[in-house]
Symmetry: C2
């Protein structure tokens, strides 16, 4: 049975699960590094477009153990970063973002609050320092220090649905 | 210290980590459903393009607890599915896929074997049955039964790097 709608952290029309998905763990992730961004709580862009417009230094920092995994990546590549939105709640199954006319299911939103708080950003690699494990990219909309869990090449043949 | 290169599950030029990332877990995922595909071990397409060409019935099945999260999604939408490659090894940091001329770091490959075995597919939603939690999509290249961990809308303004 769901908790009542009057929850102080909930907007009208939002619905929460009767359990915390974070208490039903079936597999585990490890952090391979972190994101370095200008953003702190209360000052974070709402999305990647806003982050790109505001500008700044945006980097993914890969921990020493995992740096060999960067071999072959070069400046100019399109990449997909997956990162872990550690502070986000996981039980808001229907959400009412301020920019939307009506509430919407979490799977139709890019909200950080989701059953598995994995976020993704498709970005352009501007510069790569293989020895230091530093990837400078064109934009990031997450807090400074956000844990990184994966990097993948962005492939136009499969990742571009407008083709 | 890395184990020797002669590992029987390793190709020439491949390198493995001296530890299993799966033994250094820092956060947990829960399964929100599974993928239903025609593919079994030994008969799985190498990528989404091959899966699309071979054809078949491709579905993401969302568990009852999470179906409210689908509200607002409609046939025709582009979506991103994130799923968990449960059987893949996590320690191959440099890999030598048969289709590549030289070994390459795992973060430059879409291989299922990676420190965090989260795979993603950008696909077209052909049909959605909200009550049954079934999303029929245009292609999937994962084994039948692969655990699903997230669904996100694909957004042309941020997810298309050819723009």
């Amino acid at each position: 049975m769901a908790r009542p709608m009057a929850d102080k952290d909930q907007r009208p029309g939002e619905r929460q699960l009767p359990f915390d998905p974070g208490s039903r763990i079936q597999a585990g992730v490890t952090f391979i590094g972190h994101l370095a961004t200008p953003w702190r709580k209360g000052d974070c862009p709402k999305n990647l477009t806003e982050a790109r417009n505001r500008g700044g230094l945006f980097q993914a920092v890969v921990a020493p153990d995992y740096r060999a995994g960067l071999e072959g990546l070069v400046a100019g590549d399109g990449i997909i970063l997956l990162y872990w939105m550690a502070g986000a709640r996981r039980d808001l199954i229907v959400q009412a973002p301020a920019h939307r006319p009506a509430p919407r299911g979490v799977f139709g939103l890019r909200s950080p609050a989701r059953p598995n708080p994995v976020a993704l950003a498709c970005v352009r690699l501007l510069e790569i320092d293989h020895a230091a494990g530093i990837l400078t990219v064109d934009a990031l909309d997450a807090f400074d220090g956000t844990p990184l869990i994966d990097i993948k090449p962005w492939l136009p043949g499969v990742d571009n649905l407008t083709r």
